[in-house]
């Protein structure tokens, strides 16, 4: 009893702090469940470096106050984190109790290897789960990512990444150009905004092999493309893919800065923030540095909107990350409590307000108090909400995602130095098909 009082007090303290940030309302938890049940446990967490990782490390103390569970969290740069996690999980003795995973790269691989604990029984257990955590609160994309084909929840969706269009308001005003609604309009606008003599270009985006796939798939989806047919065959050499590639090629060769073939998001962002590119399509998560007065000259000059429509539709290529508990972990329940706390309103609300991530949970995204505290421009928030409505997974859910991105990505990069889209896609497709077949056959 005494313990419970302490826990309530700390929740009150926590929510008072949260209230200062614009959060209203006491979390509905603490009713039935006992957060203190696993007090004294120590959890190891492996995180990909970024705002989500910062969020946990910054507020881990609040979790410890609430539950008595110690958290040791380590942030590792994304690429290395993915490798480390896979190697440790494959060894059967992971050093971590909670794993931060990239759905768009790792979902199938983790499922097929059976590395993750099924969290569904935990979610049904009122002693372990706060009443507001229900499956239906997660967006469709979130459930697509977290559930396997048997309907088990293998992870909790944490943060979603939508692709949006960033544009330079000043450059558009100067030329009196409307914000494009379709990809063709975008191309025309970009042509008008390009002036190589001045060193300004209409568009910038990822050209670097592998990284470029995330941009291209958004075009592919808007041209009506689907990644897999009913039999699981990959479909990236069809007419939709060729059309999307032609657009990609035109944009990145005619109206983008030279050298774009080597650009990842970082170089693209640099070109955009220096006012050398008028438009940029990438994930929503890059807004905070653009709006940070200490780091950016673009504060207040950036416009945000959804990715323009293609001839066959308008989608926002969607990626995301989640939190899982390894099957081989020792403190599964305690680890689940941490995952649950991280995806709950208080934490994901803070994430959204700082622009460091977008919750998969509708109850957080639609909460007026949470929305009110968002420090990013309202246009940004609107683009997030609108993108959520047209969200579609940006990469095929297969095991060899990395090979797929490398092979098709190399084909795309090749088109930037003049290669023919259809030929290159065909070649990549021929190379990739046997790899996919090999990986899915067993």
């Amino acid at each position: 009893m005494k313990q419970k009082l302490v826990s309530r007090r700390s929740i009150l303290a926590g929510s008072a702090a949260a209230g200062a940030m614009g959060l209203i309302g006491l979390p509905a938890w603490a009713a039935d469940m006992d957060w203190k049940k696993f007090a004294g446990t120590k959890l190891e967490v492996i995180l990909a470096k970024g705002p989500r990782g910062d969020n946990l490390q910054k507020y881990a103390k609040e979790f410890t106050d609430l539950t008595g569970i110690q958290v040791e969290a380590e942030q590792v740069p994304e690429q290395q984190q993915r490798q480390k996690v896979v190697i440790e999980l494959a060894s059967g003795k992971p050093s971590f109790d909670v794993v931060h995973m990239s759905y768009h790269v790792q979902k199938r691989q983790f499922e097929k290897a059976g590395w993750l604990t099924d969290l569904s029984p935990f979610m049904k257990d009122p002693a372990l789960t706060a009443p507001d955590l229900v499956e239906s609160d997660f967006s469709a994309a979130g459930l697509q990512y977290s559930k396997n084909d048997k309907g088990q929840m293998l992870s909790l969706p944490w943060s979603v990444d939508y692709f949006i269009l960033y544009y330079n308001k000043e450059m558009f005003q100067k030329k009196g150009i409307e914000i494009p609604k379709t990809l063709e309009e975008m191309m025309t606008a970009a042509e008008k905004l390009t002036d190589p003599k001045e060193g300004t270009f209409g568009f910038v985006g990822r050209g670097l092999r592998n990284a470029n796939m995330t941009l291209w798939t958004n075009f592919f989806l808007n041209y009506g493309g689907e990644f897999l047919d009913a039999k699981g065959n990959i479909l990236t050499d069809g007419p939709e893919a060729i059309e999307a590639t032609k657009l990609y090629q035109r944009l990145l060769t005619k109206v983008a800065p030279p050298g774009v073939a080597g650009f990842n998001w970082m170089e693209s962002m640099a070109a955009f923030t220096q006012g050398r590119a008028a438009m940029w399509i990438d994930g929503v998560g890059w807004a905070p540095p653009l709006e940070d007065p200490a780091a950016s000259r673009m504060v207040g000059k950036v416009g945000y909107t959804i990715v323009p429509a293609g001839p066959k539709g308008q989608f926002s290529a969607t990626y995301g990350d989640g939190l899982g508990v390894p099957q081989a972990g020792k403190n599964k329940e305690a680890a689940y409590l941490l995952c649950q706390w991280l995806v709950a309103k208080a934490q994901t609300g803070r994430l959204l307000q700082a622009g460091g991530g977008v919750p998969f949970r509708n109850s957080v995204l639609n909460d007026p108090a949470t929305r009110g505290g968002v420090k990013m421009p309202q246009e940004w928030l609107q683009s997030v909400i609108d993108s959520g409505k047209i969200s579609k997974l940006g990469l095929p859910v297969i095991i060899p995602v990395a090979e797929f991105r490398d092979l098709v990505g190399a084909a795309l990069t090749a088109t930037l130095s003049g290669a023919d889209p259809a030929t290159e896609l065909k070649k990549a497709h021929e190379q990739f098909r046997p790899i996919l077949e090999r990986s899915e056959k067993t």
Partner: protein, 308 residues
């Protein structure tokens, strides 16, 4: 040896019994280390290359299937080509420049020590740090290289951002960093050449080029072979500079065997196939080293110089 010991008499047999095993305790530590860190990994790599070995799936023995995949894998075939071109250029250029630099630094002039010191500085820096600096210099809009070109009226280049120029650009970095090493080796060789041949050549009226071509070059040839061998082994397995600057791009235009191997093993988690590629890389290094040794053998008449 035994014939000497026999006359000593009765004491000898026990000594002989104990002597042979007595060196084992001294050999074992080194043997264990060699077995553990060289032989075992090698045997295990070969074993992995004979299996379908993917992280997260059970392994199955597949014989030579991984090796049979290699010739049909266009990325591997291309990677072999890139490796050969990259290696040839980054052996040849440092050798040419390094020999030239050695001849220059062998001459006596004011401030020679200081300039020599400055010249070998690139060698001391960390390749990844260098690579990051060069990446900035290669930048088509913001890089200093295009600015320098613009001063002499040459239009901006794409350097590492174009498939056609990426390998030469990378070789430029490699050359810049490793010319000093070749210079040091060759300088050592030149210092070991006696002065008499030059004196007699001068009496015979030879010019500088003739002295270099017919005296210096043949006499430092053994040193050049050593330098070429070191450079070759280094260039074939070069990874850091390429990975840090282009990651094998644009597309796969600068993907060498080593980079492809890294992708296969650590991004695609296909350890079996990756091991097969590693074995091929090893064979390539051995083959190239053997070729150089063979060439050196054929040039044995220069051994006079090596003796000096």
């Amino acid at each position: 040896m035994s014939t000497h010991l026999e006359p000593v008499g009765a004491d000898a047999p026990p000594g002989r019994e104990w002597r042979p095993p007595s060196y084992w305790p001294f050999v074992i530590p080194a043997l264990v280390v060699v077995l553990a860190v060289i032989v075992f990994p090698w045997v295990f790599t070969i074993w992995m290359s004979l299996n379908e070995w993917k992280v997260g799936s059970p392994t199955t023995f597949v014989g030579l299937a991984n090796y049979l995949r290699l010739p049909q894998d266009p990325r591997f075939v291309e990677a072999v080509g890139h490796t050969l071109v990259y290696t040839a250029l980054s052996v040849l250029l440092p050798l040419v420049f390094g020999t030239f630099a050695a001849v220059v630094f062998n001459a006596n002039f004011a401030g020679r020590g200081l300039i020599r010191g400055i010249f070998i500085m690139p060698m001391m820096a960390t390749p990844v740090a260098i690579a990051l600096v060069w990446t900035m210099m290669f930048h088509p809009q913001l890089g200093v290289l295009n600015y320098l070109l613009s001063l002499v009226g040459i239009p901006p280049q794409l350097w590492v951002f174009h498939p056609g120029t990426v390998i030469p650009s990378l070789v430029l970095v490699e050359t810049w960093q490793w010319t000093p090493l070749v210079m040091l080796i060759v300088l050592g060789g030149i210092a070991a050449i006696p002065t008499e041949p030059y004196e007699s050549a001068q009496i015979d009226g030879a010019n500088h080029w003739q002295m270099f071509r017919y005296i210096t070059l043949p006499l430092v040839m053994p040193f050049l072979f050593i330098a070429a061998m070191i450079r070759m082994i280094d260039a074939v397995k070069s990874f850091d500079i390429i990975f840090a600057i282009t990651q094998g791009g644009p597309g796969s235009a600068s993907e060498t065997i080593n980079l492809y191997l890294y992708s296969v093993a650590f991004s695609y988690y296909d350890l079996g196939y990756g091991s097969a590629i590693a074995v091929m890389l090893f064979l390539l290094v051995v083959a190239l080293a053997a070729l150089l040794l063979y060439l050196r053998q054929r040039a044995t008449w220069t051994e006079i110089g090596a003796g000096a």
